[in-house]
Each structure stands twice: as C-alpha cells, then as structure tokens.
C-alpha cells in the first residue's frame, strides 16, 4: 500500500485521536458519507461491533438474518441510491456467505464495500477457529480485495476501497481485517485524503477522433438503433442520454440492466432487448445499419447467436471499461469513457433527425407483439391469473413511481417486460448472475437507499424461499416493503425450458410450498393470498395503501410461459412469439 500518496499533506482538521482500528473504521465510514450498514456480528468482528455500540446515533446498522441477506441488501441500497453499499460480516462462514452476493455485484457492477473480520494475524494460516482464506476465496468475485493486519494501514486501504468500489466501472471490494488490527490503538488524523494509486485510472479520456467518426456514421445512417445498458445509470447520464435521443431521433431499447434509464413510455423508447425482450428491438437489431451500444456489454442473453448478431450494422460502442470493447462483438468505433462525458460530446456532433419509416417498423412489430402476446397476457381469456396481469395491476397503482425489485425467473422476465417506470433506478434485479433469493434482501436495501418511494419486491415461490429468513429483518426494523409472491407451484423458468426443449420431462421443478401467509404472520407481517381476478385488484390496492410491510401471494397460472423468446443458440432475428412458432421454426 506504500504506493498511495497523501495529497493534502496534513489535514483539514487538526484533531488527533488515539482510536482503535475499529473506531477508525467507523470514523472512515462517516467521512465517506456512509449512513447505513448491513451486517451480522460474530467472533472475529466483535471489536467493530463493540465500537459500533457508541456510533448508534450516527450509523444505522441493519442486522440481517444471514450474510447473503446483508450483501444483497447492500446491493439493493446501492442500486436504489447510487451510493456505495456497506456490509460487515465476521470471518469464516460470515465471509463465505458473502460470496454469491460478491459475484452478483461484480457481474452487475454494483459498488459494495464488505468488511470481514479475520482471526488474529499471528493465527493466520493455522486453521484457527473460523479462519478461512477470504482473500483467496473472494479474488475472482471482487474488483479489489485486501487484508489488513496493521491498523495503521486502515485509512489508506479504506480510502482505496471506497474509491475503487465507486469509480470507473463500479464493483465489489472486500477488506479483511484481522482482530488484532481491529483492537490496535493508533493515532488517527481526521480527514486525511488520499489519492488512490496514481496508476488506477478508472475513467479513460474520450478520443475526439473516434467521436467524430461515430457521429459521421450516425449522421449518414438510415436505420440507426441505440441500445442502452446499466452504464447510463451508473454514469448518472440519464439526462444526457435523453438529450442525445431526442436530438438524434434514434429509437432506443434497453437491456434488463439498463431499464428505467429513460421513462418506459418515452415516444422514442422501443422496449427491451434480449432473450425475453420485445419483438421489435430483437428482430430489428439485425436490420439496423448503425448500432450504438451505450454502457452495455453484449451479454449472451442479449446477443443470442453471436455470429449472426447485427452483422449488417456498423457498431459504435461507448463504455468505460476497455475490457468490454471487442470482448464479444467486434466493434467498428470504440468510444472509451464515462458516458456522462461522452454522450454530450456525441450529441453535439450529431444532426437533428427524424426517422419516420424506421420508427414505423418498430411500431408495426409492437402491434404484432401486442396482438399475439401482450393482449392475452394482460387481459387473459381464461380463468387463471397470469403474471403479466398482476404486473399490469401494479402499474395502474404505482403510475411508474415504485421501485420494483425482482427475483430471478419467469416473474422477473414478465416484470421487466411489463413494468412501467418514470424514474431512474427503479428496476432492481439480479441480471448477470441470476441469483434466486435476491429480491427480499435487495428490497430491504432499496427501502433504505430511497426512503421516498414505495418498494415492491416481486418474486416466485421458489426464490421467495431462498432468503425468506430476511422477513425477520423486515419485522425487526419495520422496513416498509411490499412483497408480492407469484406462486405457480413450479420453478417456472426451468419448467418452461423443460416443456419447450426437454419434451416436457418435468424433472424436479414441482414445488410443495408452505403457507406463505402463515409464515408472514409468524413474522408479524400482514398478508393475504388471492386466487381470483376480482380479489386481485382489491388486494393490490390494499397492499399499496397499507402503511408498512405487506405480503401478497397470488396464485397464478401453473404453466404460463414467457414469450417472445429468442431460443438459446438462435439469432435475435429468430425471436418467436409463441409455442407454435417455436415448433415451426425449430423444424
């Protein structure tokens, strides 16, 4: 850590304190603007918890029921607030329980700082009680990690930890602190500022030549198409994007992670791309002449078959992470940089245009999709409730105001297809890793990350049971989240694939579920179950109006499928609208 240089030589405040490493850690949290911590105490982190006893007024600590809950909550917090989520956990099992969340945060570029306790430095490597090689285990799932054995290192290491987590392409950081360092007394000077390692350059400087090249391509284009990813949200470039889109007149679609960067009802918005995205944006990806990808990473769920993805188009890729350029899709014009900087530069260079004919193509596709899929999903002719009509019901009540957190599976795809958003950072979901059990804890975090908006967690009956213990956190801290379980008695997405691609051999996807209403009442969370259309509307209304957390279980169609679908290994233009099309296209 010797590389880190002190910038402001002395200090802003001359106050010098003799503090323990634990106290220093908490002081650093305050200096970094941290107000909320998610954590779970244990042996090796006890000195930090002891110090926390005196910081109760300044730091809000949410004591979860499982460390995985803590990190997902921190992710939810970060995604709803745009700030760094902070987690405290103990050594050994406390740290290993974080691994799934770290992987999730790495793939979804979520800024999280995790503090893990560690055994005394002199015991390291002795297989001491609750000792495990946390740095070794977390290396592939962190942006950066570091083990602190001497409290003197803490100010520098923590400055670097927060800086690395939040800058460039954000990501998770683990700082493993041995117990002796937590107890060690050091002289701590407040507000020491560090410039973190001069060599870490998180934001590349935009290349004007490339921008001009890109603008020339865009200005000559007849059928340009913009796909946005989470980079726009992470770069806080929503306004800049809107200006670009409105000036250039280019139709814009989003990836699942880029959702809510622009309002879903914007006239230039054409929907979601990807395996269960909208018909038009998928189909027309293979017809556009210039594809402008902003802060997205061409995930396989977005591109489908790579060698048939937008091969006709010139591709412009704006990204802050150089490693993403040319990783999956060969790019004609790469534009490195923070999109908050690069988008306005591009806006300045592009002509104001209207693409009436091209837009009409998207509108026609939307009409087809509406007729063949959406109409029947939202207003089903059968008696069974569909997932889409529940989400439609939420839209009517929320009017795009709610933050919607989803778990993983069919309900997630349905929610992302049908939910409407007015504001940025409204859709919180586990995109890259696809972590079932994400929704309840992430919703808790989102409720702390943005206290002004209602938070609705949508989940299936499978995912609901993967971190159901966090209902205890909701109870203890009176967290105001609405929990919506769409229960079809199956692991729906796996069942859908078994139905479509494995000759309906339903192998271990049936769920014999507990009584969710009773479970909720065990946690003093009011709840009800609805099974009919008449009851649904009333129940949703009741849930929305209820002052406090509420659980609503909706029994939905057991074998409802998510369409449109780009079958795995197929080109995006092979998107199918229903089972029949899938059969004919597969033949």
């Amino acid at each position: 850590m010797e590389k880190i240089k002190q910038v402001t030589p002395e200090v802003l405040s001359k106050k010098e304190n003799l503090l323990t490493g634990s106290q220093v850690l908490l002081e650093i949290f305050l200096e970094e603007g941290v107000k909320t911590l998610f954590g779970y105490p244990g042996g090796a982190i006890m000195p930090v918890y002891d110090a926390l006893y005196d910081y109760k007024e300044k730091l809000e600590h949410i004591q979860v029921r499982h460390e995985q809950g803590a990190i997902h909550a921190a992710q939810g917090f970060a995604r709803a607030s745009g700030k760094v989520g902070v987690v405290i956990a103990t050594s050994g099992p406390g740290a290993t329980n974080l691994v799934t969340g770290l992987a999730d945060a790495l793939l979804d570029s979520t800024p999280v700082v995790c503090i893990t306790g560690q055994v005394y430095a002199h015991l390291l490597g002795s297989d001491a009680f609750q000792e495990i090689d946390v740095i070794g285990i977390t290396t592939p799932v962190t942006k950066w990690n570091y083990q602190v054995t001497d409290a003197e290192e803490l100010p520098e290491v923590m400055a670097k930890a927060f800086h690395v987590a939040r800058t460039g392409r954000p990501g998770p950081v683990v700082v493993d602190i041995t117990k002796n360092a937590q107890l060690q007394m050091i002289t701590y000077k407040r507000r020491r500022l560090y410039s973190v390692s001069a060599n870490y350059q998180p934001v590349p400087v935009p290349d004007i030549e490339q921008l001009i090249k890109a603008a020339m391509l865009i200005n000559k284009a007849e059928r340009p198409f913009v796909i946005i990813g989470q980079g726009v949200l992470l770069g806080k470039a929503e306004t800049e994007l809107l200006e670009f889109i409105e000036k250039s007149g280019i139709p814009v679609a989003w990836t699942i992670m880029g959702m809510s960067a622009i309002p879903t009802d914007h006239p230039l918005a054409v929907g979601m791309v990807g395996m269960h995205g909208n018909y038009g944006p998928n189909l027309l990806t293979n017809e556009c002449d210039v594809l402008i990808a902003i802060g997205m990473r061409f995930d396989d769920r977005v591109t489908g078959r790579l060698d048939q993805y937008a091969t006709q188009a010139q591709i412009i890729h704006l990204d802050i992470d150089k490693a993403e350029i040319n990783k999956n899709v060969k790019v004609d014009v790469p534009i490195y940089g923070d999109c908050k900087e690069t988008i306005p530069l591009l806006t300045g260079l592009v002509n104001s245009r209207v693409y009436l004919k091209w837009h009409q193509r998207f509108k026609n596709c939307a009409k087809i999709e509406h007729r063949k899929v959406i109409q029947e999903s939202i207003f089903p002719s059968g008696d069974a409730l569909t997932m889409a009509e529940v989400i439609h019901g939420i839209n009517e009540l929320s009017q795009g105001e709610a933050i919607i957190v989803t778990d993983v599976g069919q309900h997630q795809m349905i929610t992302c297809r049908y939910a409407q958003y007015k504001h940025s950072k409204s859709n919180i979901t586990s995109g890259g890793l696809g972590t079932m059990g994400f929704a309840i804890p992430a919703a808790i975090g989102a409720a702390y990350g943005n206290k002004n908006r209602p938070v609705v967690a949508v989940m299936g009956d499978g995912g609901a049971q993967m971190n159901i213990q966090e209902l205890g956190t909701i109870m203890q801290f009176g967290v105001n989240v609405k929990l919506l379980i769409l229960n079809n008695g199956y692991l729906g997405m796996v069942r859908q694939w078994q139905e479509l691609f494995h000759e309906k051999r339903y192998s271990f996807v049936t769920m014999h579920n507990p009584d969710f209403v009773q479970i909720a009442s065990g946690y003093s969370i009011p709840a009800q179950r609805v099974e009919s259309r008449e009851a649904l509307k009333k129940a949703l209304q009741h849930m929305f109006n209820y002052n406090g957390s509420y659980l609503l279980e909706v029994t939905v169609d057991k074998e409802d499928n998510v369409f449109p679908m780009v079958p795995q290994g197929k080109s995006v233009s092979d998107v199918v609208l229903n089972k029949e099309q899938l059969k004919t296209k597969n033949k």
């Binding site: 010797e2 290396t139 950066w144 990690n145 083990q147 390692s197 992470d321 150089k322 490693a323």
Partner: protein, 165 residues
C-alpha cells in the same frame, strides 16, 4: 489472429500480496494454460514484473491484456509474439569442470557469452547465461560435444526493457 502461437505477456504491477493469484485466475477462467511464468522486482522501486508465456490466438491475448490491465493493482500489460528478436532468456548449465580446465575452447565460449559461474567444484561447474534466445541456442549447440551434463531454462523469457512511463 485466429491461429494459436506463442506469446509473451509482460505485466508491471504494484507490489501487493496475492496479485499473482488474481492474474493466474484470469488465465484459468479463459482456460489458457500458462507455459512459463516468471515474477520479480524491476529496477523501479515498488514495481513488480510478471512475464508469462502462453500459446493462444492473438485475439484472445488482446482480450486477456484488457482483462489484466483492468485489475486495480496492475500498472501496465502488453504482449509480444515470440518470433521477435529482443527476447532474452536466462539459462543455467552444468558441465564437467575438467572440460573447462582442459579445453580452452570451452573457456572462450563461456567468456564470449558472458557466463557467470555459479558453482565450481572438482566434478562440475554450474554457470548462468542471460542472452537472446537464438544466442542461447547457439551456445547450447557448441557446448553439446563437450559433455553438457544438464541444463535448465529455468526462467520464463525475461525482457530486459523496462518501460514504465
């Protein structure tokens, strides 16, 4: 671009513990086998150097370089195709001492290639040479008839250029 060939990747990093693990995992993740690896200090204080030799396509190597440079503690990474002439290698040879003593030719060879004696005992002598790969090959050929007992090309190719801006 799509033909597999030998590449040498040079990485300059901060001197942080565990970094070798982080870098090795990147190769493992892409299932690229490391043929040779060499790590050590550079003449710039606090800067470490890794030299890694792999056989891969250039396209994958370019992506790998980006993945490596993305690591917070990595300062710079670049690659060279292995047919380039500026490559140096360090080798250790063991020859019978009597050959060196009795054969002037051998002694001249060692002098010419600037060999450093590492161990000298009655039975054998161990010396070390650092030179271009082609020169090392020449030396090896020349020594062969005189009873080269054993040798180790113990290190990865080590570039002598240190260009940290």
């Amino acid at each position: 671009m799509n033909r597999k060939q030998e590449f040498t990747i040079t990485i300059y990093t901060e001197n942080n513990m565990g970094l070798i693990n982080r870098i090795a995992l990147l190769f493992f993740k892409k299932r690229i086998n490391i043929t040779k690896i060499n790590a050590g200090p550079t003449d710039v204080a606090e800067v470490q150097q890794f030299t890694i030799v792999v056989t891969e396509t250039e396209e994958n190597i370019q992506n790998m370089i980006h993945q490596i440079e993305k690591q917070v503690d990595v300062l710079r990474a670049y690659y060279n195709a292995d047919n380039e002439s500026d490559k140096y290698e360090t080798v250790v040879y063991k020859v019978p001492t009597r050959v060196i003593v009795s054969q002037q030719k051998v002694e001249r060879l060692l002098h010419f290639y600037e060999a450093n004696i590492v161990v000298r005992c009655n039975d054998y002598t161990v010396f070390e040479v650092t030179d271009q790969k082609s020169k090392i090959n020449e030396l090896e050929e020349a020594l062969e008839p005189w009873g080269l007992e054993s040798f180790v090309r113990c290190t990865g190719e080590k570039r002598l250029k240190v260009n940290i801006e």
